[in-house]
């Protein structure tokens, strides 16, 4: 498997659903991320923590999906929180001025402590 291909794995910590994401997120796989998140909300998850620790980079298509999902979650009294942003992925959030558009915590432990 290509190491830059999108990888997603969900787990739980109490009532928080953690979706660990790895690889790159772009127009080729942004729809997969959207489907996975919609699936989790449909199954009744109210708080989803997206762990970006392993994400290499994300393009405008991925940002759009994240914004769409965050809007959708707010409308359904759920929430999406981001953590583990590092390296180029974090740079892109910063350079794109998009950090303030999301709830972002440092590490996964830090995020779980606040949720």
């Amino acid at each position: 498997m290509n190491k830059t291909a999108l990888r997603m794995e969900d787990s739980h910590a109490g009532s928080v659903c953690i979706l660990s994401i790895g690889g790159r997120i772009d127009s080729a796989n942004a729809a997969d991320l959207l489907d996975r998140l919609n699936g989790l909300f449909s199954s009744g998850e109210k708080t989803i923590l997206l762990d970006f620790k392993e994400v290499l980079y994300l393009t405008s298509a991925a940002f759009r999906v994240l914004l769409v999902v965050t809007d959708e979650a707010e409308r359904n009294e759920a929430r999406v929180v981001l953590c583990g942003l590092a390296g180029q992925a974090r740079e892109l959030f910063e350079m794109g001025g998009l950090l303030e558009a999301f709830t972002v915590h440092g590490s996964r432990e830090d995020a779980l402590g606040r949720l």
């Binding site: 127009s27 080729a28 794109g96």
Partner: protein
């Protein structure tokens, strides 16, 4: 430029007077370990105890002058950073060879030649940068660090004549080194700042406790005056054409060493550091060349920026240029005190060993960082790996090298010189066949990200491009291709300072907005997503341009400073 965490005093800040003096003394204490090289050289030249003290005193004076020249900040000369000058082990091997052939006058003469060569290269340093890429400078600095560590171990054991004495020496070195490490890692403020000085003091205390502190060994039989101008009895110059080649190579090794040290000093002052400031490097090299000429003119050996000092300033967070004045004054005064030179010749070897070993860790790590910051393809790996092995050869295969023609001995006797020669030559050889401009044709209507990533990563490795720049370029290409209609070609061109990407496609020009689209605009339509794509490209590339050319073809130009 942003302030790195852990930096207590930046290069332009002046610490309070007490800190300034104590930190300057600490640097001077560390730099005095570099006086071991003139001591070794003087002994190889069979100097009497009197003349040896003069040689050490003059070397102190040349450290004072060199430090002032190297650290000064002006339009014409000086790196502008705290890169004090030390007697350099780079020059030790060839200088010992020269001393064997023609005594110290030949060492002085050839050192003048080396200095003139460095002075001549200084104005064109930027133009010859392809000969001296950062990973080779990193290699040189890593090898210097490694040899410093080895030298540290040797000095920790050098007094060993029996198992009992060895255990005492080891104990002194261990106590001294442990003190330095504990203070550096687990304390803050003054204790961390002066970890090396305190470690040396503890080492002196331990040496006294073990009864191996003997101040009488370096004393001339007739005693020492309190103040005395060093005798210039040694002062003569000789030249030998057969030594020009090895000393010219040393001059290049010296340039690499200076490049690495000044770059390191720049980096520890700037968290956003990505590439060396060449003006500072050129002025530093000019200062170094002149310092070499001055040093040899007054009767001392070759000088270079002292890696341990830059390592110490990184370890303590005190990088203020003001320290250079304190260091220079201290060494200028000490050069007039024969007792100081005598004290240097009697400093307990295990204490020197501990200081070398401690500073070596920071020097070595800095070299490794400089090497690994670049993408390494097979060519670079061969240059680095082979040269590293060559650097180790003189230490491991002395018998083999003894059979080489005498002309090559000055090069073959020093691992540092041999490693540098190997790296410079292999680097030139490996440039054969590396195209600086490459083009990749794309399948219509299909963006194969893996192929693009592989193409740019492999090419970046061949060029020795920085990983972070290649990662940004990969993002840029993928981002462009996912929002344009029919990408047809990606072209990448590179030199040491620029990476330029051109992406050609059929369709309408991409908008590159100055203003970030709002989250609402991004979510509202795919046009919003395209605007975000253009905005991200503008933010991640150092320059971006999109223009329509003939036949409905559009070209996006992405420029990245390297």
């Amino acid at each position: 430029m942003s302030r790195p965490p852990g930096l207590l005093y930046s290069v332009d800040e002046t610490p309070p007077r007490a800190v300034l003096i104590a930190a300057g003394l600490q640097q001077a204490a560390l730099m005095s370990t570099s006086l071991l090289y003139p001591i070794i050289l003087g002994r190889e030249a069979h100097l009497s105890p009197d003349r040896l003290l003069d040689f050490v005193s003059v070397s102190m004076l040349s450290l004072a002058i060199a430090t002032l020249l190297l650290c000064t900040k002006s339009r014409f000369i000086g790196s502008g950073y705290l890169c004090p000058g030390g007697c350099s082990q780079l020059y030790l091997g060839p200088s010992v060879s020269a001393a064997h052939i023609g005594g110290l006058p030949l060492v002085f003469g050839m050192t003048v030649v080396t200095g003139i060569l460095q002075t001549a290269i200084a104005p064109v340093l930027r133009r010859v940068r392809f000969l001296l890429p950062p990973e080779i400078a990193g290699l040189v600095i890593a090898v210097v660090g490694l040899f410093m560590a080895v030298l540290g171990v040797r000095y920790s054991l050098s007094e060993a004549t029996s198992s009992t004495v060895m255990s005492e020496d080891l104990a002194i070195a261990a106590v001294s080194l442990t003190t330095m490490v504990i203070l550096n890692v687990w304390t803050k403020g003054f204790l961390r700042m002066f970890c090396l000085l305190l470690g040396v003091a503890v080492g002196y205390g331990a040496s006294a406790a073990f009864g191996i502190l003997d101040f009488s060994t370096g004393m001339p039989s007739q005693g020492l005056p309190l103040l005395r101008l060093p005798s210039l009895e040694l002062l003569q110059w000789r030249f030998d054409a057969s030594l020009i080649a090895p000393f010219a190579i040393i001059a290049i090794a010296g340039i690499l060493n200076l490049t690495a040290n000044v770059s390191y000093a720049q980096r520890i002052n700037d968290a956003d550091w990505v590439r060396p400031n060449f003006s500072s490097l050129s002025r530093g090299l000019l200062a170094n060349g002149i310092a070499m000429v001055v040093s040899a003119t007054i009767g001392s050996m070759g000088i270079n920026t002292y890696s341990s000092s830059v390592g110490l300033s990184a370890a303590t967070g005190v990088t203020s240029r003001s320290l250079a004045y304190v260091i220079s004054i201290v060494f200028a005064l000490l050069s007039l005190m024969p007792a100081a030179a005598a004290l240097i010749t009697t400093i307990p070897a295990p204490v020197v060993g501990a200081a070398f070993f401690f500073a070596a860790a920071f020097v070595f790590a800095s070299g490794i960082q400089a090497i690994t910051a670049r993408l390494l393809d097979s060519r670079k790996i061969i240059v680095i790996g082979f040269s590293f092995a060559m650097a180790m050869l003189p230490n491991t295969s002395q018998d083999l090298l003894a059979h080489a023609p005498g002309l090559f001995h000055p090069i073959l006797e020093s691992g540092l010189v041999l490693g540098t020669v190997s790296a410079v030559l292999l680097n030139l050889l490996m440039r054969i066949g590396v195209r600086q401009r490459v083009t990749m044709k794309l399948e219509p209507g299909h963006v194969d990200r893996e192929t693009i990533e592989q193409f740019l990563s492999e090419q970046g490795g061949r060029w020795g491009a920085r990983r972070d720049i290649i990662s940004r370029a990969i993002f840029g290409v993928v981002q462009v291709l996912e929002v344009v209609d029919h990408g047809s070609e990606v072209e990448a061109s590179f030199d040491e300072f620029n990476l330029d990407i051109r992406i050609r496609y059929a369709g309408t020009p991409l908008l590159i907005p100055d203003r970030r689209p709002t989250p609402r605009e991004i979510v509202a339509s795919e046009d919003g997503e395209r605007l975000l794509a253009g905005y991200l490209l503008r933010q991640t590339a150092d320059r971006v341009n999109c223009k329509a050319s003939g036949g409905g073809t559009v070209e996006v130009q992405l420029h990245y400073d390297h």
